[in-house]
């Protein structure tokens, strides 16, 4: 075997991951962001530390002193915001996001029951994977991230025919619809769906995403907007919620997704 004794590997290829690793403690970052109220703090902590089993009791406890909406927004959601910060700082990774979101949802379900007429979410998103395409992991992650950011999601699953997507959107009237495709030959379903929606006078952003889709394609049909990775989806949804149409999302795409 060719000897690699004494080779300085960093001069060949650099381990930037090790050079740049963030050894900051999650506790310290969380500390600064946690709510002051002890009951709400406890709720938020169950989310940050992903304690499925503790979130129920903590939520029930907090509901004794706090309004249900505050338990959600000042407790559970704040916990999730800390998780997002840890994720952005490369201290937490995807599995933590998934588990924290699950924890938060348990708490929200409990608190919501105490709200008359149920909680209002930021808005509704309809999601699907293109017909003929069996890969849905990206869509599933984006769905979790949307839910964690306060949106409700109708998840139509994978391999969904165009007509079913159109029918669901007309029925549910979401803020936006998303389609994911791993293959360039299945993603052509998106402009067809958009066309049909247009014919029905629906004019909402149609987010195209997934391995095969690039920004050029996503913006090649009316209503189409692009998302490159799951964490970009909530900030885009926020802009739509704030009144942006698909043209404005396109125009400001770099800025909107710059941090995500």
């Amino acid at each position: 075997m060719v000897s690699s004794k004494g080779v300085d590997y960093a001069k060949i290829l650099t381990r930037y991951d090790i050079k740049a690793q963030n050894e900051a403690s999650p506790e310290k970052i969380a500390e600064k962001m946690l709510p002051k109220d002890p009951a709400l703090k406890k709720v938020a902590e169950t989310v940050v530390w992903m304690k499925f089993k503790d979130v129920g009791p903590a939520t029930t406890d907090a509901l004794k002193t706090q309004k249900p909406l505050d338990v959600i927004n000042k407790g559970l959601v704040v916990g999730m915001e800390i998780v997002s910060k840890l994720y952005a700082d490369h201290i937490y990774y995807l599995p933590e996001i998934m588990m924290a979101a699950k924890t938060m949802e348990i708490g929200i379900a409990i608190a919501e029951k105490k709200i008359e007429g149920g909680r209002e979410t930021k808005g509704l998103v309809v999601m699907h994977v293109a017909e003929g395409d069996p890969h849905d992991i990206g869509k599933n992650i984006a769905a979790v991230m949307l839910r964690s950011s306060g949106y409700s999601v109708i998840d139509m699953g994978k391999d969904v025919p165009v007509d079913e997507v159109v029918a669901e959107v007309i029925k549910a009237k979401p803020l936006m619809v998303t389609g994911t495709a791993l293959m360039t030959t299945t993603m052509t379903a998106f402009p067809r769906a958009a066309e049909k929606l247009k014919a029905k006078k629906v004019d909402i952003p149609f987010m195209a995403a997934g391995g095969a889709v690039n920004r050029d394609f996503a913006e090649s049909f009316d209503m189409g907007i692009f998302s490159q990775k799951a964490p970009q989806t909530p900030p885009i949804a926020d802009k739509i919620k704030a009144g942006y149409g698909w043209k404005k999302i396109r125009a400001e795409w770099d800025e909107i997704t710059g941090g995500a």
Partner: protein, 471 residues
């Protein structure tokens, strides 16, 4: 047909294994000899969106544009061999779309062979469109699309269409275990991966590949092999490059080793290789089976970037670009440009073989990426050999061998880190230690393991159903 398990290594030492030569070479197509002393470029491509709308247009895209461009460039650049790989678009589940493509590519491959003497072959890779929620086995619930046919039947029918109309090699990217793999990767749950990919995936592979091998043999087509693209590659891609890492790289390295125990089942059912390019578990499998390996790396940047671009060439027999969409470039069409890259790398490897320097070049490829990340480190041929040995030792039991693969990989990575050869971030090391602990705590008994997992993941994993695996 039952699977004949591999319980011994094909090679007696890692140093024996090198690119271009396999213990059991395979001949097919128009003069192609895989693993017989020369590396062969394998070009993969995707038609432009829109061309899948009608059969004539799709045939034109695959045959008159993609295949002809590629073969012309092979002549221009002087390549002695070219294998084409068509990964079927979903529309080709319909015979009307598939037959003209398969026939057309067979014709043009033969024409160039006759006109210029270039060796050619076409591999057809059938899409596995089965979905856990619709049923993975024949007689399952009828599925949407694909002419109203149930997916499992459609899968075998597609293989027949390929084999009857001119395929030289039959391959597939089977999806068995994917519902658990997706859960495992997003939740960093190594047991779920072991159960889904290592165990259920292996059972599903046997179900699919017994049938595939018999279809291929009936039609005198070479049954190539499979890959755990839907599991270990998802894990690898999500572990990302140097900075972007949704999944920890130590986790992804272990999933890769587990996937080897699954992918090799195709060969236990009679597949002869070459296996599929995107199976990065290939180096492990070659140590055990001695069958020709198709691999991809530095010249598949058109499709993705990973951290072992050079290393993957170390023991390859066919060298692939994974996939590129057909479109124009300054240097010709995209397939021509990437074929140029592929073919030049292959020529370098073949020069090394011809001058007796193949082991030196192999080692240079390997050393380049050896310490860049856990997955490359584990796949370095000496380490891959260790993982192979762990699998072969428990070869008879699909659960134990997959677990052994995962543990061996984890320990190889840990040892590399302990020896300060392989750097790890704190997080990568924490996850690695947790994996070792978790795998070691699993039952030694297959039935107990299966029972434990069934109970646990029934609750957690949407669409998981053990009936899909005949359990």
């Amino acid at each position: 047909m039952a699977a004949t398990r591999f319980t011994k290594m094909a090679y007696s030492s890692p140093d024996e294994i090198v690119f271009g030569t396999a213990k059991s070479p395979v001949s097919y197509g128009f003069g192609i000899k895989a693993g017989a002393g020369r590396v062969i470029p394998e070009l993969n491509y995707a038609p432009r969106p829109g061309t899948e709308k009608d059969p004539a247009r799709l045939r034109k895209e695959y045959v008159d544009y993609i295949s002809k461009d590629a073969l012309n460039r092979a002549i221009t650049l002087g390549f002695p061999d070219l294998q084409l790989e068509t990964e079927w678009v979903s529309q080709m589940g319909d015979k009307k779309f598939a037959v003209p493509v398969v026939e057309g590519q067979a014709e043009i491959a033969e024409k160039f062979h006759k006109d210029f003497g270039i060796n050619t072959a076409v591999r057809h890779t059938i899409p596995d469109q089965r979905e856990a929620e619709e049923g993975l086995r024949t007689g399952a619930k009828k599925a949407k699309g694909v002419g109203g046919k149930a997916y499992p039947e459609a899968l075998f029918q597609a293989a027949e269409v390929a084999c009857e109309n001119g395929a030289n090699v039959l391959s597939c990217e089977t999806m068995g275990g994917k519902e658990l793999a997706d859960y495992a990767v997003t939740s960093q749950d190594i047991t779920a991966f072991l159960y889904g990919v290592g165990y259920l995936g292996a059972i599903d592979m046997e179900y699919v590949w017994s049938e595939f091998v018999s279809i291929a043999k009936k039609n005198k087509v070479t049954p190539g092999g499979d890959t755990n693209c839907s599991g270990a590659n998802v894990s690898m891609f999500m572990a990302g490059g140097m900075m972007d890492q949704d999944v920890q790289k130590t986790f992804s390295a272990v999933t890769r080793a587990i996937s080897a125990a699954r992918t090799m089942v195709a060969m236990e059912c009679g597949a002869t290789g070459p296996d599929k390019d995107c199976g990065y578990e290939g180096p492990i499998i070659k140590t055990i089976t001695g069958r020709p390996a198709a691999q991809e790396g530095k010249n598949c940047q058109c499709a993705h970037a990973d951290l072992q671009g050079n290393l993957m060439a170390q023991i390859t027999d066919l060298w692939s670009n994974e996939s590129v969409e057909y479109h124009p470039e300054f240097g010709g069409s995209s397939v021509q440009c990437w074929l140029g890259s592929l073919g030049y790398e292959v020529a370098l490897m073949n020069t090394a073989i011809a001058t007796g320097q193949e082991k030196t070049l192999r080692d240079l490829y390997m050393i380049t990426d050896r310490t860049r990340g856990p997955e490359g480190y584990m796949l370095a041929y000496d380490n891959a050999f260790k993982v192979g040995e762990a699998i072969a030792k428990e070869g008879k039991n699909i659960y134990l061998r997959a677990k052994a693969a995962g543990l061996a990989a984890a320990k190889v990575v840990k040892a590399g880190n302990d020896a300060k050869e392989l750097g790890l971030t704190t997080k990568q090391r924490d996850v690695l230690n947790a994996i070792i602990k978790e795998l070691e705590a699993l039952p030694a008994d297959e039935a107990k393991f299966a029972e434990y997992c069934d109970k646990k993941y029934k609750e957690l994993v949407p669409n998981y159903n053990k009936k899909n695996y005949g359990l």
